[in-house]
């Protein structure tokens, strides 16, 4: 079991309120991602769940039991750190065994679990090496191995893939997802990368300045962002946000239209502008369009075969049924 509840938790560092009163429930077995820009309090929140950071007020409950004053060692949670935080003086085997040794588990059972974890993570050949002799990806596997052997009630990941190169990151992302499908254990994952959030999460918690902006499934957030912040944060490339006269035409303070919901044409359309940079990904091309008279630059996602040169005039037609409207407070208008 691994149901985690935050009840009116707050955190102050000195006089600075990092987390205003916040409520959140993470159901057993759920893969929850905390996402937000740096400094939004997502790591602090995770560390409060872990017990590494004290609460200023409020309550953390694990499986409906108040754990606010339980030390991290007794919460039954496992954590994977961004820096891996392996014990450099121990072999891989001893690193993975450490939590079991702390739990004074029977050595035969310890070995069985270590062997199983090593096999699952392709670490069998490296068990006698020191962390310093491993690559970044292997170190991350060891950190994950150390977390899974103790069969925790929940896994906490603090930006675990940030130190890996792009190719490895995609691979590890899949492995973590597969691990979640296999173990069905609660996982809380902190990242500033919205692509990671979208691809991995059952539930995304978008945070800004310690406040939860929206909680929902990846597609809920994509299709019905609750406010301008979430609209701009979720999705890549970013949603185009337009204010002023064009928004007023749609009875809104701000309108948002995603790059993939704008059709392009060389001859006619609702808006027109000049092509700036074109980013060719092969399957798609992203055009950055200037001089549309809509304020900011507009980004459009077109099929890969569509071709415009820098400086060409381009006509844009937004699909109005896919348009998002926000009021003066930045909240979604239904």
């Amino acid at each position: 079991m691994g149901k985690i509840q935050l009840k009116k938790v707050t955190k102050k560092f000195g006089d600075t309120q990092v987390i205003p009163p916040l409520d959140l429930t993470i159901e057993d077995g759920e893969f929850t991602v905390f996402v937000g820009p740096s400094g939004c309090g997502k790591s602090t929140l995770l560390r409060m769940i872990a017990g590494l950071e004290d609460l200023t007020s409020g309550e953390v409950a694990i499986d409906d039991t108040d754990a606010t004053n339980t030390p991290p060692a007794k919460r039954g949670l496992a954590m994977v750190f961004q820096s891996y935080a392996l014990y450099p003086h121990m072999s891989v085997r001893k690193n993975i065994a450490f939590p079991l040794r702390m739990a004074k588990m029977d050595p035969a059972e310890q070995n069985r679990r270590i062997e199983a974890a090593a096999a699952a993570l392709n670490l069998t050949d490296y068990l006698d090496r020191r962390p310093g002799q491993l690559s970044g990806g292997q170190r991350q596997r060891v950190a994950i191995g150390r977390a899974i052997v103790r069969e925790p009630s929940a896994f906490l990941f603090d930006e675990p893939l940030s130190n890996l190169d792009a190719a490895l990151r995609v691979g590890m992302r899949l492995e973590i997802c597969e691990m979640h499908k296999r173990l069905q254990t609660t996982m809380i994952y902190v990242t500033h990368d919205q692509v990671e959030a979208m691809t991995m999460a059952d539930k995304i918690v978008v945070l800004q300045a310690g406040v939860i902006e929206q909680v929902g499934s990846p597609l809920e957030l994509y299709h019905t962002p609750r406010n301008v912040f979430v609209a701009g944060f979720i999705g890549s490339p970013k949603m185009n946000l337009i204010t002023g006269a064009e928004a007023a035409k749609h009875n809104a303070e701000t309108i948002g239209i995603r790059p993939e919901h704008i059709d392009v044409s060389a001859t006619k359309g609702t808006w027109s502008g000049r092509v700036g940079v074109a980013e060719h990904l092969g399957s798609d091309t992203f055009f950055h369009i200037h001089d549309t008279g809509l304020g900011d630059m507009i980004t459009v996602r077109a099929p890969g075969e569509v071709s415009f040169n820098t400086g060409d005039t381009i006509h844009l037609t937004p699909r109005t049924d896919q348009m998002h409207r926000f009021d003066a407070k930045g909240l979604r208008i239904a």
């Binding site: 991290p72 014990y87 003086h89 103790r150």
Partner: protein
């Protein structure tokens, strides 16, 4: 462009380094040489450098006149005991200062160091009186405790510096893995800080070994270490340079040998953290 050093320049640097090294080492070398001379040769003018009749007579006399082994044992017990005791007290202190600092931590560190700025003689009377009252005068325990207290600020400072180099996330990982505070210090922090702890032990052993002010003032016979052994040869009967030198050589030999074999460790420990 990388800075290139010509061979001439290298040779010059080497020569300068050797000169400075020998200059620093010369008094010790001279003491060792003198210990093998006769008393007459020892005070000869002009001084004789190498071409004298090498003799072990002084060592024989010194060994006959005083019990070297007893002084040596006292030195080992006092220096070793005070260093061990100091580290046992300093590890938790440095841990808390490095990993759970309060806004007073810097002040406490500075205050501890400030005790080293006071001339020792300033507290000789009170400490002497306390030692009399407690019956600690001329006892190994008394000296062990006083030398531990004298060196404790340095031990804490050194350990604090080494601990600061250890990433806090590793200790947090240990906590998440179910380690108690004791487990965390014993299985994670200490093994990672071994190079730092070793050089702290070594340096403080040397400091305690060479400490003369307190060892001379608070001992008479029973607990007297090698410093007292040397001092006993600058006697009122007149100076016997050769015998004094023999006694000094015998006193510094153990620490010199220890230092020689652990020089790598010492240098590494003292520059630990300077270059990552």
């Amino acid at each position: 462009m990388a800075r290139s050093i010509t061979n001439n320049r290298k040779a010059l640097n080497t020569a300068i380094a050797w000169t400075i090294g020998l200059l620093i080492f010369f008094p010790i070398l001279w003491t060792i040489l003198t210990s093998f001379k006769t008393e007459a040769q020892a005070i000869a003018d002009p001084p004789i450098f190498l071409f004298f009749d090498w003799t072990l007579e002084n060592y024989a006399v010194v060994q006959e006149r005083s019990n070297y082994t007893r002084f040596l044992m006292n030195s080992i017990i006092i220096a070793g005991g005070s260093t061990l005791l100091g580290v046992i007290i300093a590890v938790p202190a440095a841990w808390s200062m490095a990993f759970v600092p309060s806004n007073r931590t810097k002040d406490i560190l500075l205050w501890m160091l400030s005790t080293k700025m006071l001339p020792a003689v300033g507290v000789l009377y009170p400490i002497y009186l306390i030692f009399i009252k407690m019956g600690l005068l001329d006892s190994r325990i008394g000296l062990t405790v006083i030398l531990m207290l004298i060196n404790l600020p340095i031990i804490v400072w050194m350990l604090y510096t080494y601990f600061r180099e250890i990433p806090g996330e590793i200790l947090e990982a240990a906590r998440m893995d179910g380690a108690s505070l004791r487990d965390e210090i014993l299985y994670v922090l200490t093994p990672m800080a071994i190079p730092g702890i070793a050089s702290t032990l070594l340096l403080n052993f040397i400091l305690a070994w060479n400490e003369a002010f307190w060892t001379l003032n608070l001992t008479a016979a029973k607990a007297a270490p090698l410093t007292a052994f040397i001092a006993s040869y600058s006697s009122p009967e007149g100076l016997f340079y050769a015998k004094l030198s023999a006694a000094s050589t015998m006193a510094i030999a153990p620490i010199l040998i220890l230092g020689w074999f652990s020089q790598k460790q010492l240098v590494r420990g003292l520059t630990f953290g300077a270059v990552k």
